[in-house]
Symmetry: D2
Subunit: 180 residues, 4 copies
């Protein structure tokens, strides 16, 4: 959920000022989407999972899923497409799922420990989808890099330790949903 | 989604004033839950579906699912339980699903026709669950009556015609998810 | 499930003779897959559903999903790919789902009325998946034609009346899963 | 999948002799169900997971899920109920899921390594469900004991090491599906 700040600055436009959004975030759960970018072989078997590398506020780095807010009057699938294109570049060719059923719903709470998911800025209810990506990904926006990991690499301690806010748990849930 | 007005008056309390909520509703998608109350036999087979009868604003009646807002810092499963107890009474014994995965997500738009779901008051993103009910249901709050319908009755033209805002479509999606 | 006879003649090879398969079909539930071919737009929204046109035994025609048996030591996703390539041709480019979770399980019973699904030859337990198709489809094998229908056309009385064995119900369940 | 031998001896009755079943198992995938027994609180939150303790063939012990074959002309939900009652006793009050959609499908192969799931006796395609249990469980049949584990205990190395055939992976997939 580290992409939220930049995202909102760029995209809210006529929807909500930064102050208004901040106020709403203290009062209402905010609708989010989380996308797990994957590469599949011809039989649909998972080959690798894509994680964004970002500079974290404190000079370190973190790895994250594609994540962001759903805007007023925006379809969930449009929000998925928008955030995927923003983070993976315009040639990524994401295959947005046909069904609105997410594989899970991640409830990010401002208070740590209520759920496995934590976002200090807000209470976000995030619909999580696995999204096959077939084109060329080029990290865009504030992402430094997009790295692909095999399922075994993705669930390694080293990779999970670089994820924050519970996204490591969400990644493991996605892998489980895919049979890994 | 007809229960929203009364719900919010009663429950927002310290969260959001009516005016603030109205303002937010014009700017942000609001997180909702929809619950389809069902009765099952010992093998889990659907026996009947519960629909609330309400007086609609125009002097007519309408039938609806259990539906309402998720509050700030409220778990989805707590919101489900709260709305089910409010509408079905304290002895309904709803069996809240163990998994956070909804059977679908209904996107209610203030503009008709964008999706099958419409709510003139707001853009609501509603997580929809089937909830088995094992106790005694007593319509509470603003519901006049709770009626149980067999799957065939529930999908009849007569019943579907009494549902508004696309909830008839959501009911059919629930029945399909249950194998009907 | 009309494709089973031809399928098995061609593919059982070293697995099972026709007589042995017939004997097993009277004693064991048989593992099947059902695939609903779909075309999506860039945001994943359903554009149309593909149905096969076949000559039915009695001189009539019927429309059907892509359906067939899972062989001994065959992965479900390999069976999906095999049946889709057989029925839609080698250039169809089906996107086999990444997750093994089917949208439903259709239980075809030899006795009509036990479930909505009926197959006079056998008790088949069929895992049902929606499969986006991105290439050129050319009806192959015993299919006369592949036709694409919008969601509204697909759920029309006329189309559903041409489907047998409960596949019309399965088609409606697939549409419901996709938000229609 | 360790319960299969005893199960089939007891239940096949008029369906299939032991020899015939053995022959079929070398030729056809066999339809199975796996059930993960769980205890939930009033809001549906997972409290604990039930695992059966069995004597394994080699003098050791193993822990397993409730698992068994679907018989000819048997509904999946009837098979779930039968295996749960056999393993947990007649007073367990399992709540069979209303929807036929499993949370995953485990493909047990006779050859290790094809999938995470392995059964030396057969190729089994197992539909996996989470089943809340509300009554008193008494290990029955060949199970020595039923033990309840918190989610953290259930995913511990110690417990997973006592599970065979990939059921540890299936248990983790169930926990992930439940948000853990």
């Amino acid at each position: 959920m580290t992409s939220g700040v930049d995202t909102d600055t760029q995209t809210t436009g006529g929807w909500l000022t930064r102050d208004e959004l901040d106020a709403a975030r203290e009062r209402l759960p905010i609708v989010y989407v989380d996308a797990v970018p994957v590469q599949l072989d011809a039989s649909g078997t998972l080959q690798c999972v894509g994680l964004l590398l970002r500079a974290s506020g404190k000079g370190g780095i973190s790895r994250s899923l594609v994540s962001g807010r759903v805007l007023y009057h925006e379809r969930i699938r449009a929000a998925l497409l928008r955030h995927l294109e923003k983070d993976l570049g315009p040639l990524a060719l994401p295959r947005i799922p046909a069904s609105p059923q997410p594989f899970t719903v991640a409830e990010y709470f401002p208070t740590p420990g209520v759920t496995p998911f934590h976002d200090p800025r807000q209470h976000a209810v995030s619909l999580a989808y696995v999204v096959p990506v077939e084109g060329d990904c080029q990290p865009a926006d504030d992402a430094l890099e997009l790295s692909w990991f095999t399922p075994d690499e993705a669930r390694s301690e080293a990779v999970l330790a670089e994820m924050t806010g519970g996204q490591g748990t969400l990644l493991l849930q996605a892998l489980a949903h895919l049979g890994f």
